[in-house]
Amino acid sequence: MGDERSIDQALVERVQQGDKKAFDLLVLKYQLRVSKLVARFLRNPSDVPDVVQDTFIKAYRALPNFRGDSAFYTWIYRIAINTAKNHLVSMSRKSPANSIDVQDAEDYGASDWLKEYATPEREALAAEIQVNVNQAVSHLPPDLREAIMLREMEGLSYEEIASAMDCPIGTVRSRIFRAREAIDEWLEPLLDDYSHNVGNT
């Protein structure tokens, strides 16, 4: 397994050489973390996608100047915070009184502050997704269920899961993937309905 920072740095260097696909991989990896971070600063959840998008576009444009002194995620988190603050200024609103440190922001639990501003429809969807995911997990074969729970709930690495389940790492990887696919299939009708309704409204 590659070390996270060295893989990120290698991807950054690929982008600096003009390889846009390497940047896509960095977006895949960090967009959720950046979204959560940005969501803590913005009062309107519907602004989050725009600010996340701006963050990554700014990062892409600034990448030629990134020398790798810090980790890529630390660097992009700073860009995200600045973009969120600028967005608030441009919307003539104030940022939350309690400032959140870059390193701490990721460790916060479900955002209570955010929930105050979430729309009822999205709250209902989140609750429904939660129920469906739990149902999907309960229908998984035991080996897949164990693998995905050890990964997502306990945060174990693939090596640790392989050791706990007494199987090769490749098997762990395959089980986690199959579990995710099964849950995703279970959620598909729900997400399709939601997209359809949103499209209609």
Partner: protein
């Protein structure tokens, strides 16, 4: 995701978001020639896997459902990019040991400080050589007789020379007064100097004799 290849790609993405993909496989993910639709599929796959993870941890929020990777991909498609003109070659992804790459990195990072030190050392050597030449009688003679060292005499330089001669005379007089002062107040000199070294005042008084 129907075909085997698509499944393999999705499995790699699943492992990639868990930081469990080997360097070579990351390289292969970048290297695949996929269509726009396939790329968009990969983005949504990764976003859904993230969302499933959040749901399992009970951390599902609005932010968990944000997926802007396809929009970013679209926005950057026509973006021109100033490729970094670096002496470093593109490294393969990963941390496999490569002596040449290591040396390249080391000398790449050391090049600037080394160049600075080399310039400083050259200036220092030049100054030392010049001073030594100036101080030695041959050097002075050589300097004095070398065509480059011959002054272009103008009225301004004559005034300057006259002033510098007066300055040297004044300086000599001041030094003589200072030496006399030190010689007369030498009672603590032996205590103030390091063992085995001739006190300055003794040297001065010796020269005076």
């Amino acid at each position: 995701m129907n075909t085997n290849n698509e499944n393999q790609a999705a499995e790699k993405i699943s492992a990639y978001i868990d930081d469990a993909l080997s360097a070579e496989e990351v390289e292969s993910l970048i290297g695949t020639n996929e269509s726009v639709e396939q790329a968009d599929d990969h983005f949504s796959v990764a976003a859904r896997y993230h969302m499933v993870g959040d749901a399992l941890r009970g951390e599902l929020s609005d932010a968990s459902m944000v997926d802007v990777s396809a929009q970013i991909h679209q926005a950057l498609r026509n973006e021109s990019f100033d490729v970094v003109e670096s002496t470093r070659k593109t490294k393969p992804v990963g941390n496999s040991f490569n002596l040449l790459a290591l040396l390249d990195n080391f000398f790449g990072s050391m090049a600037r400080p080394l160049a600075g030190m080399a310039v400083a050392a050259s200036v220092a050597v030049l100054m030392v050589v010049t001073v030594v030449q100036m101080e030695s009688p041959e050097g002075v003679q050589q300097l004095a007789t070398s065509p480059a060292a011959l002054p272009v005499v103008t009225s301004d330089t004559q005034i300057a020379n006259k002033q510098s001669v007066e300055d040297v005379a004044n300086q000599k007089q001041q030094m003589a007064e200072f030496d006399t002062y030190l010689t007369e107040h030498a009672e603590f000199a032996a205590q103030d100097t390091l063992q085995g070294r001739i006190p300055y005042v003794r040297a001065v008084s010796y020269e005076a004799e």
